[in-house]
Structures are given as C-alpha cells and as structure tokens.
Symmetry: none
Subunit: 149 residues, 2 copies
DNA sequence: ACAGTTTAGATCAAAGATAGTCAAAGTCAA
DNA sequence: TTGACTTTGACTATCTTTGATCTAAACTGT
C-alpha cells in the first residue's frame, strides 16, 4: 500500500476510536509511520480537506500539534447546493439572492445574513481594479464552507 | 500540559475568583508553577494582551507586583474599537485575532466567527494580484458594520 | 536628605521544540 | 510520453523555555 494511504488509514482509525476528533504530534506520527514529517502535511492537504468534511487546526513550537476534526454531514445538502450555485464568478445581486435563500430556508440567521452580505457588498470590494465577481465568488465559497463546520 | 498554558490557566482561575482583577508576585507564582520568573512575563505578553482586553500594571522593588485586569467593554464600544483597529489594511493573522476577540467577548457566535474568518481568509482572497490586505480591511469593516445594525 | 544595599520586576537574546512550505525528484497509470 | 500523484528534504515560521543582565522601587544607616 502507498505510504500516503497508510497514513490516511491510520488517521481514520484514530478518528474512529476518538469519536471524530483527534490531536497528533506531526513528528511522532511521521516516525511511527516511517516517513518524513512533511508527508503528514501532504496527506492532510490531499485527503482531509474542508471540502471532504474535515477541519484542521495546528500550532507550532513547543507543545505543538495538529488537530483533525471530522464534522458530521447531514443537513449540509442545501449548503452544498448553494456552494455550487456560486460558480466561478458572481455579481452582487446574485450573491444577495443566494444568501437570502439561505436565510429563507433557516440555514443562517438574520445576523449571519447581514455579515455575509456585508462581506460581498460592492462597498467591501470597491478597491478591486478588476475581477470583483471572481473574488466575490471565492469569498462566498469560504463563507459557506465555514457554515458546514 | 504545556507550562505556559498551565500558567495562563492559573491566572484565569485567579481572575475568575477575584472578579476580574488581581495582583500577583511574579517570583512567587513562578516558584509555585516551577518555572523561571521571566516565563510569567512571556505568558502575560503572549496571552493577556490589551488586544484581548487585559490591562497590565506592575511595580518593581520591595512589595513589587504585577496587576492583571480584565477590561469589560460594552458591545458598541467593542465593535467601534474593532472597527478602528482594522486600519487601512490588515493581514490575515491580525484579522483573525480581531475576529477571535469578538467571539471571546461574546459579540459574535462561533458560527459567525467562522463566517467572518472564511470571508477574509487567504483562500478567499487568493485571486487578488495585489492589495489583499486593503480589500481584507474593507471586507472586515463591512462585516462589522453589519453587526452594528 | 543621601548613599549604598536589597528586593523584585523587565528585557532580550539564545537555544529548543514543533509545524509549514516549496520545489525537485520519483512513480505509475493512461 | 505525459500528467497526476507521491515522496523527500532543505529551508522557513512560530512558539516556548531559560538565564544573564538591566532597571526601578523600597529600605537602611548616618
């Protein structure tokens, strides 16, 4: 088996044992698996992405760690739908419509709606020379990803 | 647990017991915790910063002390404070710190924090050729304005 | 009051402990 | 053969711990 797959399997086992959330020492795990530490990063970036439902947190220095959290997927379908509805670029009006939909469907609160609208408002992006709709799409995607946590 | 975290926890406990304001003897605390005195300074500088709402006062010499005060701000005050803390441009780490403060001080929920973070994450702004920090500042301001409504 | 001594916190830089990034080299299937 | 995926390791960034040295405040004897 591929080293990266073995590492991923190890992490998955640990996740299962620990009920969906765990902390590892990068160097320890690397040593246990017999690989270089940076390969742990590779495995995490390639397989434990937010898109696949994982949250990663880490800290360097003494007592450093990497925390991996598996979030429960269930009512995220609507969010997924919105996520893909955004596309590569989106204008302010369409963005507002999508956000309003989320609110209408009780996926976000009124306050959350206001925050999201603020972040993608023309005012927020006024300094952009160009590509406003592309950046707006990226921002929205990150916001929706944040909701799926 | 990490020594610095243990010290921070100790201070937090004392703060809670004493209702938001306390005085410690640096050397005594260091001895109690089993660390060098200067580590107390390190913990204070890294975790009890004014940015996080703490005021530090101290005195040297006989009867010296370090006083730590947790400052309570009112919501509007805090939002204003954050708004101005942003400045014309802001990097991702500083933005995260400000957002985290809002959450720590119960001005936003964990979900709102996640949304705000998402919107100003490097990932959300990765398409920008330049001026990332300027756009980030604008986005943050609009998000905070949304909270003041 | 003054000078010298003692007490106690501040500062800073070096060393230690971790994790992240990036690009080059390797592998493998289409 | 090419392109995607994997493996490595050098270099970087961040956080923590420690101790030497500096500075300020209080105390003491005259």
């Amino acid at each position: 088996m591929l080293m990266s797959d073995a590492i991923a399997e190890m992490i998955n086992n640990l996740l299962r044992e620990s009920n969906g959330s765990l902390e590892i020492k990068r160097n320890d795990l690397a040593e246990k698996m017999g690989c270089v530490p940076s390969q742990i990063n590779y495995v995490i970036t390639s397989r434990f992405t937010p898109e696949r439902g994982y949250i990663i947190e880490s800290r360097r220095g003494g007592g450093g760690y990497i925390r991996i959290i598996k979030k429960e997927m269930h009512k995220d379908e609507y969010l997924m739908h919105s996520f893909y509805a955004i596309g590569d670029a989106i204008d302010a009006a369409s963005a507002a419509a999508i956000i309003r939909n989320l609110a209408d469907n009780k996926l976000i609160t009124a306050r959350e709606q206001a925050i999201m609208l603020g972040a993608v408002s023309p005012k927020a992006l006024e300094k952009l020379a160009s590509g406003e709709n592309i950046v707006r799409a990226d921002i929205m995607r990150q916001q929706i990803l944040a909701l799926m946590k």
